[in-house]
């Protein structure tokens, strides 16, 4: 990895009030290099990224672009000088077209600031062609799927022909195929001498695509070396420390499986169909098993489980809960008969971000915490404390607004909300997206525990690694149909990929 340093951070640090979130840190991005940046949530990755993009100014230290000092806290300047970023959460304007979003704030203009539409469109098309992407430039971003939106964000960055590209969790919510697609794009960029910082919780990706890796922990860099010199276990250990690491790995694939359950299934779906979404879907989930429903993004898994939960309509088919036919017309009804649903997008559908941990934890079970007209404060408090310890939610302060928690802890709160319901059937949609490896391990543990107490668990996941880790049985969904159901113990990832008919990852 020879080449000149495109972007250099020297002794960058960030202090908020009393807490130091980033200790003086050096970081270098060299042309034609993909640098992995890994670490648990709260390790300081995001802060470092924000400083490098100019979103925030460092408390100390400075940034050099091509060897020249760049003034801190100036997103525009960083952009102009070819440092672009793809943030984990969408930074698109939903109401505007793809074209407008790609060139937001820097459309080529004539006199009077009139935009040169034709030129703009040509540029965009050239861009699409160069990176082998196809997007409807006039489509509204709000109408695009998450993947597509990510692509728009990448294009947005590419449109600057950025020399340095910072990617924060670019593959969150992406399916295997899309990840592969993204990676090939990245390879292309690398070939063109672009320097890339690649932040991800999914180590396999890091090992697949990165040349060098920077491991962060508690706000400082603990390792910075070519990826070749490291292995997965070592990296995890660097990230989360010995104990957790062993736990996270140890429980991986070889984890105990319950025997294939028999008798009346907890959940039985027969021939569920909804025009344009899913067709003739039949599924069984037994008490004490974890069924993973995997597939490409867009295979309508979320729509399916929402329909089961009563958050989406379906045209035909039957649902039975322990042999009793049910049809939920609202989530309320589903919850009443003991079905829980951990939604995919915790920010949009899951949490009340400005409410406290306690308030979120009892949101689905409020009915149980009333004494006459009043809220039974003590009981709520007790439950909150119980769940906070059980799920090891950090910080263990039930008064804290959820917005202030890390992604992993937010996800745990969301999970806790539904565990408190002690549902007969718990549905989870992408339960560990954007969750760091430590929290992931804990969530897996919780799911297994729930399963072992006889809960039926239905997990929708695109992360095959995850599927292989927690599933007892795996159902593969393609274009709205369940094409195959497998016992995990007899399954290899490649089989799943083949089932999905996706390009080999």
């Amino acid at each position: 990895m020879s080449g000149l340093a495109l972007l250099e951070g020297r002794a960058l640090s960030k202090v908020y009030g009393l807490s130091t979130v980033l200790h003086p840190t050096d970081v270098v991005v060299v042309a034609g290099e993909v640098r992995g940046l890994v670490g648990s949530n709260g390790a300081g990755k995001s802060t470092l990224m924000k400083i490098l993009t100019g979103a925030i100014a460092p408390t100390s230290g400075h940034i050099l672009i091509n060897g020249e000092i760049a003034s801190p806290g100036r997103p525009l300047e960083m952009l102009r000088r070819g440092v672009a970023c793809i943030y984990q959460h969408s930074n698109l304007v939903a109401e505007m077209s793809v074209l407008d979003n790609i060139y937001i704030g820097r459309q080529p203009t004539r006199r009077l600031g009139l935009i040169q539409r034709k030129l703009l469109r040509e540029q965009a098309q050239a861009l699409l062609a160069r990176h082998g992407m196809d997007l409807d430039l006039d489509a509204h971003v709000s109408t695009l799927s998450t993947v597509r939106q990510k692509e728009v964000e990448i294009l947005k960055a590419l449109a600057l022909d950025a020399r340095v590209l910072l990617m924060d969790e670019p593959t969150a919510w992406l399916s295997v195929a899309d990840v592969a697609r993204l990676h090939s794009t990245i390879d292309g960029l690398r070939a063109r001498g672009v320097g890339i910082i690649y932040v991800s919780h999914v180590l396999d990706e890091v090992f697949a695509i990165c040349d060098t890796v920077t491991v962060m922990r508690d706000g400082s860099v603990v390792a910075d070396q070519p990826i070749a010199q490291l292995d997965r276990a070592r990296v995890i250990e660097l990230m989360v420390g010995k104990t957790l690491a062993t736990q996270a790995l140890g429980e991986a694939n070889g984890a105990a499986r319950s025997a294939p359950a028999a008798g009346v299934p907890r959940l039985r779906c027969r021939a569920l169909s909804k025009r344009g979404e899913f067709h003739e879907v039949s599924l069984d989930v037994h008490a004490g098993e974890i069924l993973c429903l995997t597939g490409l993004v867009g295979s309508k898994r979320s729509e399916l489980v929402q329909a089961i939960f009563g958050a989406n309509r379906f045209d035909s088919g039957t649902i039975e809960l322990e042999g009793v036919p049910v049809k939920f017309h609202s989530p309320r009804a589903a919850i009443a008969s003991g079905v829980g649903f951990v939604t995919e997008d915790r920010h949009r559908d899951g949490l009340m971000l400005d409410l406290s941990i306690a308030e979120n934890l009892v949101a689905a079970t409020l009915g149980r915490y009333r004494r006459g007209l009043l809220l039974a404060g003590e009981r709520i408090r007790a439950t909150a404390l119980r769940l906070i310890t059980a799920l090891n939610i950090q910080p263990p302060d039930f008064m804290k607004p959820v917005r202030l928690l890390s992604g992993g802890n937010q996800q745990k709160v969301l999970l806790g909300k539904w565990l408190d319901l002690q549902p007969r059937l718990l549905i989870l949609d992408e339960p560990t997206v954007g969750v760091d490896i430590g929290a992931k391990a804990e969530i897996y543990g919780l799911l297994r525990a729930a399963r072992d107490n006889g809960m039926a668990v239905l997990v929708v996941s695109s992360d095959l690694e995850e599927v292989m880790t927690i599933a007892d049985r795996i159902a593969v969904m393609v274009a709205g149909r369940v094409v195959r159901t497998r016992e995990t113990c007899e399954t290899k990832i490649v089989d799943l990929v083949r089932d999905m008919g996706a390009v080999s990852a």
Binding site: T53, A55, P75, L76, L79, R80, C85, Y87, N91, L92, V93, A94, E95, M96, S97, D100, I104, G105, R106, Q107, T109, L112, G113, L114, I115, R117, H140, T143, A311, N312, R313, R348, D349
Partner: protein, 336 residues
């Protein structure tokens, strides 16, 4: 980009209403009435356009009415007390109005006040200033003196299209200058919003401020300009109204804010920003006008009129919502 959000519903509704009145109300579809409609509502439409700028930025401008009164009174004093030449009075009034808008923007940008509160405060303050500088109070005689400066009164002129085109057979309504002015502003604003970078920045700021900021858009500048435009529009409207009335009163533009907001929202400008057009509010305004004129000519009692006006408002919004829901059927309430 607007069509996709079911705002095309409005023109349909407008035309239907209009057609209805033409059909059932005697003397509604006369040249004279159309003329009155144009003259009576063009200036309100201009205010509504201004208001839309504020709303597009996730804000609201409650002070438009007060700004109108301010601009009107400035022109009044400048002409009748200071005896300035008309073009100066007009310019002065516009400058004051625009500055009033800028002040709103400053309060919102630098004091980080909620637009509602900021403009509510200035609503009171500007009205107070109007009372303070009112020539009608300072110089008793003036309350019964009409403005006569051609530059101001000249704004209330009509162009007899019929005559110029030589069409005598059918009565063609004369087009009021105010209406033409409105059209000009409408075109300007549409171009500004659709095909200039500033316009795009504008939608970006309203749609997703964070993204706009990270894309290096100067939010403060956008907001300031937005409210400045709102003020400017109020100023133009005020002058047109003053020309129509040949005077200005302390109560000028009372309650205009609600009319403007209603017109904007009916016109499809989304209250939480980032979505809407300029022609929407204009059509919305004239819908209100058509209803008032229609019901009046229909001889509906004033009280029933109020009821029906409310009903029509509801119908208009329900209709567009209905068209929308047929496009994208939300099986669940969208998060607020």
């Amino acid at each position: 980009m607007i069509r996709r959000h079911g705002i095309s519903a409005l023109p349909i509704f407008f035309l239907v209403t209009f057609a209805f009145f033409c059909a059932v109300v005697p003397r509604f579809a006369t040249a004279g009435n159309l003329e009155a409609l144009m003259a009576g509502y063009a200036f309100i439409a201009i205010v509504a356009m201004g208001e839309s700028f504020a709303i597009l930025l996730r804000g609201v401008d409650l002070s438009v009415g007060a700004v109108m009164a301010l601009a009107g009174m400035v022109a009044f004093d400048a002409s009748l007390i200071l005896h300035l030449p008309g073009y100066l009075s007009v310019a002065l009034a516009l400058v004051v109005a625009t500055f009033a808008g800028v002040l709103n923007g400053l309060l919102i940008v630098f004091l980080r006040l909620q637009p509602f509160i900021a403009t509510l405060a200035t609503l009171a303050a500007y009205r107070g200033i109007v009372f303070a500088i009112s020539g009608r109070q300072l110089v008793p005689g003036l309350s019964t003196t009409a403005l006569d400066d051609p530059w101001i009164i000249g704004l209330e002129t009509y162009f007899d299209v019929g005559a110029t085109l030589g069409v005598e057979s059918i009565a063609v309504p004369a087009i009021p200058l105010s209406f033409l002015l409105m059209i000009v502003l409408l075109v300007l604003f549409e171009v500004l919003l659709r095909s200039t970078r500033f316009g795009r920045d504008f939608y970006a700021t309203g749609g997703n401020p964070e993204a706009a900021r990270l894309a290096g858009i100067d939010l403060r500048r956008t907001v300031l300009i937005g409210y400045a435009l709102s003020g400017f529009c109020a100023g133009v409207a005020a002058l047109l109204l003053v020309a129509r009335l040949t005077t200005s009163t302390e109560a000028l533009g009372n309650g205009m804010e609600l009319t403007a907001i209603a017109a904007a929202v009916i016109g499809g400008v989304r209250l939480n920003g980032g979505m809407g057009s300029m022609w929407g509010p204009v059509v919305g305004t004239f819908l209100l006008g058509v209803v008032l004129m229609g019901l009046t000519l229909f001889g509906i009692s004033q009280f029933v009129q109020q009821i029906l006006t409310g009903a029509v408002l509801l119908a208009a919004i329900a209709h567009s919502r209905w068209l929308q829901s047929r496009r994208l059927l939300p099986s669940a309430p969208e998060g607020s």
